[in-house]
Amino acid sequence: MASYFIRRLLLVIPTFLGITLVVFTITRIVPGGPIERIISQARQMDQGTSGGSSGSQSAQPDDSPLSPEQIEDLKKFYGFDKPILISYFDWLTKVLRMDLGVSTRYYDPVWAIIKDKLPVSIYYGLVTTILSYLICIPLGILKAIKHKSFLDSSSSVLVLTGYALPGFIVAIILFVWPAAQWDWFPLGGFVGDDFEELTTSEQIWDVIHHSVLPMIAYMLGSFATMTFLMKNTLMDHLASDYVRTAIAKGLSFRGAVFKHAFRNSLIPLATHFGNNISLFLAGSFLIEKVFNIDGLGLLGFDSLVERDYPVVLGVLVISSILGLLGNILSDLCVALVDPRVKFE
């Protein structure tokens, strides 16, 4: 089993290289990078008012586009002067030394920028994962025991509706009504603007108040999958021979459910654990955009829109490592819950 996990871990390497190489290449060949931005800015300034000093307006047009040497200098400054593969390896060696480079817009280290957003992402990631398990497992059990009852079918409708709607639409619905129209919740953000002036208990309340709606939007999609998984596997187990035998031997139904079927039914849910955690950590930039939450997802989106490629790649590194490790973590969870599983 150890050898299986070692092999899995080793396979992460080529995959990681593949992902980063593809995205790196794309960032290189697509126009709109920092150099083009400077060229077009220079052009606009040529025509514009912002020339000269102190905002005074320059009188005559200036007749010099950037010279090839100047553009060459810019390329060197941003490290665009080498072939793609070579600069990819430069970048990669830096990454291996835990150096994600410097943002081409904020000129701050990428890692520092990402670190700033991590607490928000970790908060949302952990809380949503825990909450969704806390809700889905009991609900799944209830639905399995009361299969085909009114409770079962009505909750199915609710859960499926949540599943049907993409997360960002739920986010919009929650933003438009409970937040904007009815004023029940704040209009987005992770904490309020006056956060620092609040007492600790008010601060906690502030965070919760701000995070209720985004949490719902995050979780709703995974509710259905997890609830149904729980329900269906539990029902399979309840119908299986070993549970019937146990009951025939005098075990109460309750006992059968919780002593035997329940534990076995957790296995498929466990396979989801790693994925869930990495999914929530990486965040959904659409939801973060709607609620204006300064997390990793929004950072990735913003840096992409602004063509800040070092940050784009940095976020990608973090999220793909999380994703790949998440998969392995899922396998580990399965191995922990189910003693029969042997990975080879």
């Binding site: 593949g18 593809v22 995205v23 709109g32 049907a164 438009v176 119908a239 992409l304």
Partner: protein
């Protein structure tokens, strides 16, 4: 065509899932009305009777105003023509569709500015969007485009997925291993990012969008097909067929594919739902189809920035909920019907 009794049984089972079945009927209705939307939402008249002659403008090239003695060469304004006929009181008449607007024209009225609230007299049953286009028209035509998008996407991804998945599962070995890695890499690429990058440098047409989506979305189906082929391949009947000297092609087409069909069918509704929500998200962010293409994403965008005109966001959200929920219910029903694994209940 002879329908396999097993398939009949599956269909019967699907029909017995009421939620799914009624959703299916509703969805078929939505599709039909959307594909014939020109007949009930259009600024062209259904029928014009003018000076003893009948005209059917709906599905033909445009009729310039001069045909009806109007002083212009561009497309006839049938709403104005109708008012004129009514005023003249002669034999001439025309019949307008229920919603007499198309999805593009802005209804800019005197002293009223868009967005106009819902109004039955103006026949803007759900009001207009922020620049005066009819909401019903935008919603229905937008729905049609996202359905077309989803179906194209579905056909393409399923074709690739089934072909490649089968080969991977059937051949196995290095071929399988290579594509496994490729799929893992490919599915970790944040493909919405890629689409955003591409959309900012070219204006994506429907074909380009489908293409990009296919390039980054073929993996799911492939993976399922691979697993399924892999399982089927090891089954006794395949071994038996092979022992009888059946060719590889025959085995794939006659044995493995038919047995995987039920799996494929269960994915159809979810794939359609995925297509719709994907296109809506892109349009919402402004990276989708170019304006003035009617689109739900664009309406959501308008609605959220014009909260005071609540009818925009409300009707779009309602339409989305209706469509997505019904598709999901269909999907649930199909799965119950076609997935041979029945859930037994503990009695």
């Amino acid at each position: 065509m002879r329908i396999n009794p097993l398939t009949l049984k599956k269909i019967r089972r699907f029909r017995s899932v009421k939620r799914g079945y009624y959703s299916f009927l509703l969805f078929v209705f939505l599709l039909l009305q959307a594909f014939f939307a020109e007949l009930w939402i259009n600024n062209r008249a259904l029928l014009v009777y003018y000076e003893g002659q009948f005209y059917f403008p709906t599905y033909r090239s445009m009729i310039p105003g001069s045909v009806f003695m109007l002083p212009y060469e561009y497309e006839t304004n049938y709403r104005a023509l109708q008012k004129r006929f009514e005023k003249e009181g002669g034999d001439n008449f025309l019949i307008m569709p229920l919603v007499p607007y198309n999805a593009f024209e802005m209804d800019l009225q005197e002293s009223k500015f868009p967005p106009l609230p819902p109004s039955i007299t103006d026949r803007h049953f759900l009001g207009t969007d922020a620049i005066g286009r009819d909401m019903v028209a935008r919603l229905v035509y937008g729905f049609r485009i996202s359905i077309i998008f989803s179906i194209l996407l579905l056909v393409a991804t399923f074709a690739i997925g089934i072909a490649l998945g089968c080969l991977m599962g059937y051949w196995g070995g290095k071929f399988d291993l290579f594509f496994q890695r490729l799929i893992e890499v490919w599915s970790s690429i944040p493909f919405l990012y890629i689409i955003m990058i591409i959309a900012s440098i070219v204006v994506p047409s429907l074909t380009i969008l489908v293409l990009i989506y296919v390039i980054f979305g073929w993996m799911g189906m492939t993976w399922y097909m691979r697993t399924s082929t892999y399982k089927e391949k090891a089954r006794d009947y395949v071994l038996a067929a092979r022992a009888l000297g059946a060719s590889n092609l025959r085995i794939i087409f006659h044995h493995i594919l038919p047995n995987s069909i039920s799996l494929i069918v269960t994915f159809v509704p979810f794939s359609v739902a995925g297509g719709i929500s994907g296109l809506t998200a892109l349009d919402f962010l402004g990276f989708g189809l170019p304006p003035p293409t009617p689109s739900w994403g664009e309406l959501l965008q308008q609605g959220t920035s014009n909260l005071q005109a609540a009818w925009i966001v409300s009707s779009t959200v309602a339409a989305l909920v209706l469509v997505m929920v019904s598709i999901t219910f269909i999907g649930e029903g199909v799965r119950e019907g076609f997935d041979p694994k029945m859930h037994s209940t503990f009695e």
